[in-house]
């Protein structure tokens, strides 16, 4: 059975089960988009260096088939992030939202299923924002997630409220009995003048192959502040396609930091859509890879209104046979005068077998803008290494000090002290190259 037939069969069953769903027509549209485009191959311009199609030649269990979940709360233990005990917790297992493992601590926050939100007072928000990322991803993998939306999560942050406890999202894949294809889905609505900090991570249990195709859409209203930290430190048998689509509906601030430390294959799509004047977006990323891992960061900053500011800083340290991709698109629409958009991507290759493909893409249609971009791919600075060694510092320590120093300005973008220290520890550990 080919991929499309395989999914079509499951899709039809899902639609039959949920005849009353308000999400039905959204799913229908998405599935026909999937049928037309399919799983993107390396022939697709946006997927030139990242090959995910191989996974679909294998016999994947599909999440809707798994009625019985073996997953128990204690199994989350090894993956807990610092500050867990004070956080609002959202757990997805194999793409399904698990209410019983989730914890709500903040009354400023509401967490319900997308299906429920589509039928209650949030119906308007859901209709406006759910699926908005499809405008930016003309490929089957994004459509495939939307086609199978059923137990996604809707997170609402009340206007005027600062959520005192951060929101931790665990995307768990349980691959203990068969290959897993998981499709977590969430829509977050950050109300006017609200503030929220979200931390998410990915974890695979078991030795079979896991593929997570996540779509996470966030609408940020006037004067709201969103901080999102994405930590990817998953197992070698995992593949992650993580699409984060931030729509700045009103003048707002969005900070997103993506840390990719390990995992078999990681593809991050991060979109910052600035639909109001004077929006600010900060996008930072650090990827630190070794072995045969692959990490791909595709970012889009879409300046749709004047006077927006975006700062983008991505850094990579690649060892072994690791491969990396950075693709940074900046659109400045004709109306978006006085745009300030800055982009930097710097890479250090520690091994002759590691590679990075980096590509800035600026499409500017306004004439009064400040845009800059720069990318470098190089080796560890020998002069600097000698300088440290001449002060009595061993080769290994000198290397890790230099690499840590290189990564530091990205780590400093993490606003939460707890998280920053945690990530710093992970980074330091993986930089102890011996």
């Amino acid at each position: 059975m080919d991929t499309i037939t395989y999914f079509k069969d499951r899709f039809e069953k899902l639609q039959e089960q949920q005849l009353d769903s308000r999400l039905k027509s959204l799913r229908d549209g998405a599935f026909s988009a999937f049928e037309q485009t399919g799983i993107p191959t390396v022939k697709h311009e946006e997927w030139k260096y990242t090959r995910i199609s191989d996974f679909f030649s294998k016999d994947y269990h599909f999440t809707t088939d798994l009625q019985e979940q073996q997953f128990r709360a204690t199994e989350l233990q090894p993956f807990l992030l610092p500050g867990h005990e004070n956080a609002n917790i959202i757990v997805f297992v194999n793409g399904h939202y698990h209410a019983e493992h989730s914890v709500l601590r903040s009354e400023e926050l509401e967490i319900i299923s997308l299906e429920a939100a589509a039928h209650n007072q949030y119906a308007g928000i859901v209709e406006t924002h759910l699926g908005h990322s499809a405008d930016y991803h003309k490929d089957g993998i994004n459509a495939l997630n939307t086609a199978f939306i059923q137990e996604g999560v809707f997170i609402h942050i009340q206007k005027g409220k600062t959520v005192n406890h951060p929101v931790y999202i665990y995307n768990v894949t349980d691959a203990r009995s068969g290959n897993i294809f998981a499709q977590p889905r969430a829509l977050v609505h950050v109300g006017e003048n609200a503030q929220v900090e979200i931390l998410e991570t990915f974890a695979t249990i078991g030795a079979d192959e896991s593929f997570t195709n996540q779509v996470f859409e966030i609408a940020v209203e006037e004067n709201a502040v969103l901080s999102l930290y994405k930590i990817q430190n998953d197992a070698a048998n995992s593949t992650i396609v993580s699409t984060t689509h931030v729509h700045q509906v009103g003048k707002s601030v969005a900070n997103v930091v993506t840390i990719s430390l390990s995992g078999g294959l990681v593809r991050n799509n991060l979109n910052m859509v600035m639909s109001a004047p004077y929006c600010e977006a900060n996008l930072s990323g650090l990827y630190l890879q070794s072995g045969h891992t692959h990490v791909d960061n595709h970012t889009v900053v879409d300046n749709r209104q004047p006077n927006c500011l975006s700062n983008e800083l991505y850094k990579g340290i690649m060892n072994g046979h690791a491969t990396g991709v950075f693709n940074g698109k900046i659109f400045v629409r004709q109306i978006a005068q006085k745009t300030n958009a800055y982009q930097t991507n710097k890479n250090i290759l520690l091994s002759g077998n590691a590679t990075v493909n980096t590509k800035p893409q600026l499409e500017i249609f306004a004439d009064d803008v400040k845009c800059s971009h720069g990318c470098t791919v190089g080796r560890l600075d020998e002069e600097a290494l000698f300088y440290l060694k001449a002060r009595g510092i061993s080769e290994a320590t000198a290397r890790s000090l230099l690499l840590h120093g290189f990564a530091l300005d990205v780590l400093e973008k993490i606003g939460s002290e707890d998280v920053r220290q945690y990530v710093n520890k992970l980074v330091t550990a993986s930089l102890n190259l011996g």
Binding site: D381, E382, E383, A384, F386, Y387, L388, K389, A390, R391, G392, I393, S394, E395, T397, A398, L401, L402, H404, G405, F406, A407, L408, D409
Partner: protein, 249 residues
């Protein structure tokens, strides 16, 4: 303490040092002067163990050890310090962290315990005063955005922290105004003891007004062609390097 015999070294088949002989005893300050391209900085780099240079002959012993057999970090552990002509900018590493690591790695090399935080801070404060450096500079990324004078002061601060037996100052005066030279030289002078040696490498005599050498050597075309006392430096300043060249001709 340092004995250089017929040292030959070069880079990519080009011989730069063509047989250097030099002895430094504890408590002595030696100056090496010479025109551009004579091999001054090469000598400093070879002594510190920079890999770019290949030693093709001769020997260097430091307190009885074959220095050329040691890695740069081991040389530092033995007590050799090179003040760089062009200190490298290191983003994301503060001088404080740098020095904490360096001091403790050297202590480890010598079989000593790590310095505790209190002792380290005390030592930092003491040495900061020596080179008129303030805390804010030490918290910044090492040398990043520092002026020429700040970089050289930071080098001397590092020297003070590491308390080397032999300090090699490679063109420490280059690019500095007279006030900065005075601060740097004062720092160096305060670190002079009867036990340690200093090798000052410079193009100009003016630094030697502040760091007064016991011996002055003229390096020309990869060899020490003339040695004398501090008066030789004045003579060079007055007559230029041409008189050496004509003497040799």
């Amino acid at each position: 303490m340092l004995s250089i015999k017929d040292l030959r070294a070069g880079i990519e088949e080009r011989e730069i040092l063509k047989g250097i002989n030099l002895d430094i005893k504890p408590g002595e300050v030696h100056a090496i002067m010479g025109p551009n391209g004579s091999g001054k900085s090469t000598l400093a780099s070879v002594l510190a163990g920079k890999q770019d240079y290949e030693v093709t002959g001769g020997s260097v012993t430091f307190e009885g050890k074959d220095l050329l057999e040691l890695a740069p970090e081991e040389r530092a552990g033995e007590g050799i310090f090179l003040s760089f002509q062009y200190p490298v900018e290191i983003p994301g590493l503060s001088t404080t962290n740098f020095m904490k690591t360096a001091v403790n790695e050297i202590r480890k090399y010598r079989g000593q315990d790590e310095l505790d935080a209190v002792s380290f801070l005390k030592k930092m404060k003491e040495k900061m005063a020596l080179v008129e450096i303030d805390q804010s500079m030490l918290s910044r990324s090492l040398n990043e955005g520092f002026s020429g004078g700040e970089k050289k002061r930071n080098e001397i601060f590092q020297m003070a922290m590491l308390e080397p037996k032999l300090a090699i100052l490679d063109e420490t005066d280059s690019g500095l105004d007279i006030d900065a030279i005075r601060i740097v030289a004062n720092g160096v002078n305060k670190l002079r003891t009867p036990e340690n040696g200093i090798l000052v490498i410079t193009h100009y005599q003016r630094l030697l007004d502040y760091i007064v050498p016991d011996f002055v050597h003229v390096l020309y075309n990869g060899r020490i062609v003339k040695s004398g006392t501090k008066e030789l430096a004045y003579e060079l300043e007055e007559r230029g390097y041409d008189f050496i060249k004509s003497e040799l001709a």
